[in-house]
Each structure stands twice: as C-alpha cells, then as structure tokens.
Symmetry: C2
Subunit: 297 residues, 2 copies
C-alpha cells in the first residue's frame, strides 16, 4: 500500500546483523550470538538472518551455525533465515531446522568466479536447486548495482537473473555488495525488475540511506539491514558495512513508514553489538542517538 | 531550471571546509589553510567560506583570519565568504577585503543564548545591521530543523526569520546544526520558506546526504558542504561533521546534476585535508573512492 507521497505505508526489514554483520568479525560465542538475536527480536525484528552454513575455515565467525539454530527455540512469528553457499550447506541448514534459505548469485562474472569459483550461470543453476530444498528461499543477486571488477552491470542481465529466481520459486533481493548503488542506478534496476524485490545495501560510499529512500519512493518495501551498520564481505574488494538497521528505522519513524521495530530497544541491541565486537559500531546514529534525544535530557 | 525528474539541472556548492571544517580542529598555519583553499578552487569550487573573524581565544583554529584573506589574491570568478559573529567581526572582515559576509542567527532561543549570549531577536537585529555592511550577506539560520535544547522548532518561526533576512537584503541559508533534519522536516521547512534557500547540513546522524537529495527533489539548489565531511560546532552539543563535499558531488555526478566540481581533484583536496589534520576524514567516499574506481584498476 502506498501513500500520496509515494512512500510505502510500511516496510519489512530483514535483520542480517547476526550473519552479514558478524561475518567479517573475530568469532564470538554461540551464546553471545543468541543474546544478540534475542535483543533484536525484543526490539521488534520479525525476520532475522541468523547465521551462514559455510566452512568455518573460510568464515570462522560463522562456526557453530547448527548450534545457533538449535538455540533459537520456536520461531513464533519470527522468520529465521540462514545463508547457504551450496547444496551441502542447504542440507545442513535444513537438517538444523531452518525453513528459509538465502543463497547468493552474483551478477558480476568476475566476482562470481573469485567468490565461489563458479560462473554466474553455474551459480544460478545451483541456486535454483537450493530453492527447491526448503519451504522458502530468497536469492540474493550480488553486485546488482555495479561490480568492483567490471564496473557497470547490465540492467537487463540483473532483470534476467531476477526472472530466473522467481521461476525457481524464490523471492529476489538485489545486493549492492560494494556500495556502488546510487539513486539513479536503483531507479534503473528497479524499473527493470519491478518493485517487488528486497534491497541489500552497503554503506561503503555513504550512500546506503539515500539509496533506501530513493527505493522507497519507487515502492520497494523489503530491506536487509544490519544492526550498527556492521558488515562487509571478507571476500569483496572495497566492501563496507551494511545499511544500519537503526539508520533505516530512524528515517522511517520520521517518515511515518511502519517498520515494527522500536528504535530505543534497537539502539540497546546496537550497544550490545558494540560490546560484543569490542569497538563502536559504524552507525553515526548509534553514536549520536535519535533526533528526539535532547541535550541534558 | 528543473528537469522532468524534479531535480535541478545544476546546484551551487559553497565550500565551508576552511571555516566550519577546520573550526573545531587543532590550529593549522595560515599557509596550509591557503594551500587547502587553492586545492579546492583548483577542483572547481567557485564559492568558498575561507575563515571566520572570531576571537582567536574562543576559536584558535580561526586565528589569522585577515592573513588568510590577504593571501587569497584576486577573487577572479570565486566568491570568498567569511563568517562574522558581530559588528566588530564584520568591520574586520570588510577591512581585510571580504565582500561576502555570513552571519548566524539561531532559531533556537537556548542555543542562541548559549552560543552568542543573545536572544534570537537581538541576534536577528544585529544580523540585519551586518547585512548592510558589505555588498552581499548570507544569514544562516541555525537549528532550523530542530534544536538539541527545545527539540522541534516551529516552521513558522523559521519562515518568519527567513523573511526578515530577505527584508534585510540578505540571502538565507538553513542550517541543520546538530543533524536533526530529516526528509520530512526538510520538506516542511522548505515548503514554508520557499526553495530559494541554501542548506547547510551536518551528518551527525548519517542523514546529511538523504536530506540533500530530498531537498534537491524540492528544487533547492544551494548547499554548504565541507571537504572530507569535517566540522561540527565546538559549542553545539552533539554536533557532527558537515555534509562532505565529495559525497554531494559524487551523488550529483551520478544524477547528472552539474556542480562544476571535478571529483578526482576534489578527492585530492580531501587527501590534503586528511594530511593537514593528521587523521582520515569522516567521508566514507573519501576512503572508498568513487564508484567508478575498480579493483586493481
């Protein structure tokens, strides 16, 4: 449902902090990862990417993925997502109890080869298989707004991949893996794919929030964000942190776009995140506090 | 002139890095400040706030203001601005050769009392006098989008101040002194003042760029920015850096909104800025480089 100002009445945020956010960090315990997930759910998160079923040698921070899933308890009204890189990872995730899989296909041939050792075509074929292995799957098209290797990525290429994701029964998320999106590029890609896509934005160049705003103006209403603005692929040249959940919630609160997330409790989860990683999070809002927080108040 | 997408064909950027950017920093030499100004002009800046004629005891980084102005040489096609806090400062600025004065009036009564020891009314009366002391003056309305003391500031109050600035023969710039602006607030204030205002945005909460984008969609085409995203009032609780010049130029380049500034040379000026202050600048773009900079390229 959209409003007279063109913005959606509400958006759905998938919190990816426990996966994409923590992925490049030094490993923290399963118990602490579960504490963070609980804090995010307490703040109102209803869709959380909790871990990735990847090789602990490649990504030490994601070790213990199955223990994380076992520790979640009943999902209730929360959707638990797990990222899987291949069929073996999908099997492990499903065996652990995950019903919502995310899998990545790169629109950049070079990124695909470097990241997963497959062509985009091979990767897409694998993603279609994985999409059939669980009740729900979301295929994340990485480098959808540009690649650090090839530069511009054809809008038709992205739209073609999006169509194949849908043919495979999956939803589609467009990832700005290395922060190359701009409002112009978001507009061009969304015009080609239609607005029923998720956006997974990174703030490498300080443009994540303006891109989210431009996307909402186009009717996009699904976003991946990470508490604190943590994140960045350990494999992608120049990858910066994710769009911070608190930055998007703060913007949406002010625009009267419903997110279901309570900013005050989310900022508590952000503070917990900073304590777990042992340094301040990148989000400037997390440091400054919401605009309603007055001096001496 | 606006386009079919509502964005202006071009915007005018006033570079305030040598004043607002350096103001809270440890003092650097007049010679180095002139090097920075020259680098910004080389990059295409045609409007630069070069210094403030304030007490060197209160703001050590602005000591030597008259020497800075004397070192500028002939203005050519560049407009040199200086901030003045009072009539005495305006006299010193004009004596030094400045023809374009900026003077601040706060829409926040408490901020006004704390910052300059005057009521908003007293400050406005003084600004009107100063506006008559030079060929051109720009009155900057601080806390125009909210105050860290009172919270919301009435849109009518801001519009009333803007009208009085214009009555005094000055142009008007609306400052988001402590980063409380949002697209909604920008829309409300600009609806009341009209789009012929400058915006002086701070990135305290990571919202400076989205606010600039929303303002351009409303037809605003004058912006104050600081190279590197330096800045923040030493007197304002919670003030963060200015909107980074490179962040706005990068966005405008991609949107085909003309700024007259060359991003590559501007990033060189940003690198110079970092070397002068002895640490990286806040702009994420300055760290990551423009989206066109490819891996290994």
């Amino acid at each position: 449902m959209s409003r007279s100002d063109g913005l959606p009445a509400s958006i759905d945020i998938r919190e990816v902090g426990p996966r994409d956010g923590l992925q490049p960090e030094a490993p923290i315990s399963v118990e602490d990862r579960l504490r963070l997930i609980a804090a995010l759910v307490d703040a109102g998160a209803r869709s959380v990417e909790v871990t990735a079923f990847v090789s602990p040698k490649a990504v030490p921070a994601m070790a213990g993925a199955a223990e994380v899933v076992r520790g979640l308890g009943a999902p209730g009204d929360v959707t638990w997502w797990a990222l899987v890189p291949n069929v073996r990872g999908a099997e492990l995730a499903v065996d652990a109890g995950i019903r919502h899989l995310t899998v990545t296909v790169s629109a950049s041939p070079t990124y695909s080869q470097r990241n997963v050792g497959m062509s985009t075509e091979e990767s897409m074929a694998q993603a279609a298989v994985i999409a059939g292995m669980a009740p729900a799957a979301d295929i994340v098209i990485s480098c959808a707004f540009g690649s650090p290797y090839e530069g511009e990525i054809s809008v038709d290429e992205v739209a073609g991949l999006a169509a194949r994701c849908r043919d495979a029964g999956a939803t589609v998320t467009l990832a700005d893996t290395t922060g190359m999106a701009t409002p112009r590029r978001v507009s061009a890609v969304v015009a080609a794919t239609g607005p029923d896509v998720g956006l997974h934005l990174h703030d490498t160049r300080g443009t994540a929030l303006v891109n989210a705003y431009a996307a909402m103006e186009l009717g996009v209403r699904r976003f991946d964000t990470a508490v604190g603005g943590l994140g960045g692929s350990p494999f992608a040249a120049g990858a910066g942190g994710n769009l911070a959940t608190e930055d998007l919630v703060h913007l949406c609160d002010d625009l009267d776009v419903t997110t279901g997330i309570d900013l005050t409790r989310l900022l508590e989860a952000s503070t917990l995140t900073a304590s777990l990683i042992g340094r301040p999070v990148p989000s400037r809002l997390a440091t400054a506090g919401p605009r309603g927080r007055l001096a001496g108040g």
